[in-house]
């Protein structure tokens, strides 16, 4: 994928918007709808890039993946800043106890409580968790646009479900 200024701008703005929306309380509930912010980030990045230059069909998932990964980075950063300022958001380490089984030994529970309150440990775990989120957002950012192109062939272009590359003659072919 050619890293032109248009694609980098598209990744930046789409990722920034998706990441901030994913980090804000209440707004992040939209992710309950099949990780809406993740794939919207990818779709937005492709749409923004296409406003300035043609985007090859094979580059669409790459663009979506990069935008998704960047959105995850923004989300983790915003969430971390929010936690540091006491505004909430990000990975709520104190809530991890809700997911632990009741049969867990007491000393393990004590360890969890002590670790969840430690700032540096929280940052480390947040970064590791952020890497996982980045992979997930990249996957979702890449997944939906190729499908959108395929479905558009039925709804928008009446092309019988053909991909965009099949409908559009290649220059020089």
């Amino acid at each position: 994928m050619q890293r032109s200024e248009a694609t980098l701008r598209a990744i930046f703005w789409a990722g920034l918007g998706g990441g901030v929306a994913s980090a804000l309380p209440l707004f992040n509930l939209a992710n309950c709808f099949c990780c809406l912010w993740a794939w919207l980030t990818g779709a937005t990045a492709v749409a923004l890039a296409r406003q300035r230059e043609p985007v090859e069909e094979a580059d669409v998932p790459k663009l979506g993946a990069l935008a998704g990964a960047y959105a995850a980075l923004v989300m983790v950063t915003v969430g971390l800043l929010g936690q540091l300022m006491g505004l909430g958001g990000g990975f709520d380490m104190s809530s991890v106890g809700e997911f632990l089984p009741e049969s867990m030994p007491a000393e393990r529970l004590d360890w969890v409580d002590s670790v969840s309150g430690s700032g540096p440990i929280q940052v480390v775990f947040t970064l590791v968790g952020g890497m996982i989120v980045a992979a997930l957002y990249a996957a979702f950012g890449a997944l939906f646009m190729p499908s959108n192109s395929r479905v558009y062939g039925i709804i928008g272009n009446k092309g019988g479900g053909k991909t965009v590359s099949e409908r559009t003659p290649r220059v020089g072919s």
Binding site: C34, A38, M93, I132, L136
Partner: protein
């Protein structure tokens, strides 16, 4: 479904199949270490932004609940299976051609998810997992097809 390739290599590599398999690997890794372990804890936090992680809606494996709900577990399993098929197809010099009608498999996901959210009905965990798995297949297949688009 698996067509002959054109002989030219797409952006062949392990990147996309690996990305599709990674979520399922992480879920499996957390399950292997068991609920309450550090690994399970960290991975659970990683999936927190994309899954409600309600314990009652999670599948239990060997006595410990998965880090994601049943629907997500099925979805990521479907992605992993599709990723493996993509890699196998590339290895055989073929391309996985997705049929447009497969995208109808997304409808049960939307309908069931909305109905459960609104409390219209409550789908059993197995049903959620199957619905999630079926929805993942056309998405991953379309991604595979896009990789061959410039050939």
């Amino acid at each position: 479904m698996l067509e002959e390739g054109t002989g030219k290599s797409p952006s062949r590599g392990w990147g996309w199949p690996l990305l599709l398999v990674t979520p399922a690997l992480l879920i499996g890794l957390a399950a292997a270490f068991g609920e309450g372990s550090v690994v399970d804890w960290v991975i659970r936090q990683g999936f927190a932004p994309v899954c409600h992680q309600i314990g009652d809606r999670a599948i239990a494996v060997a006595g410990s609940r998965l880090v994601v709900c049943a629907r997500c577990a099925g979805f990521y399993s479907g992605l992993a299976a599709a990723g493996i098929i993509v890699a196998a197809a590339d290895g055989l010099g073929r391309r996985w051609r997705v049929q447009t009608v497969w995208f109808l498999l997304l409808i049960p996901l939307a309908v069931d998810g909305t109905a459960n959210l609104l409390g219209v009905w409550s789908t059993p965990a197995a049903g959620r997992a199957v619905i999630g798995l079926l929805a993942a297949v056309p998405l991953a297949a379309a991604l595979s097809e896009t990789r061959h688009a410039t050939i």
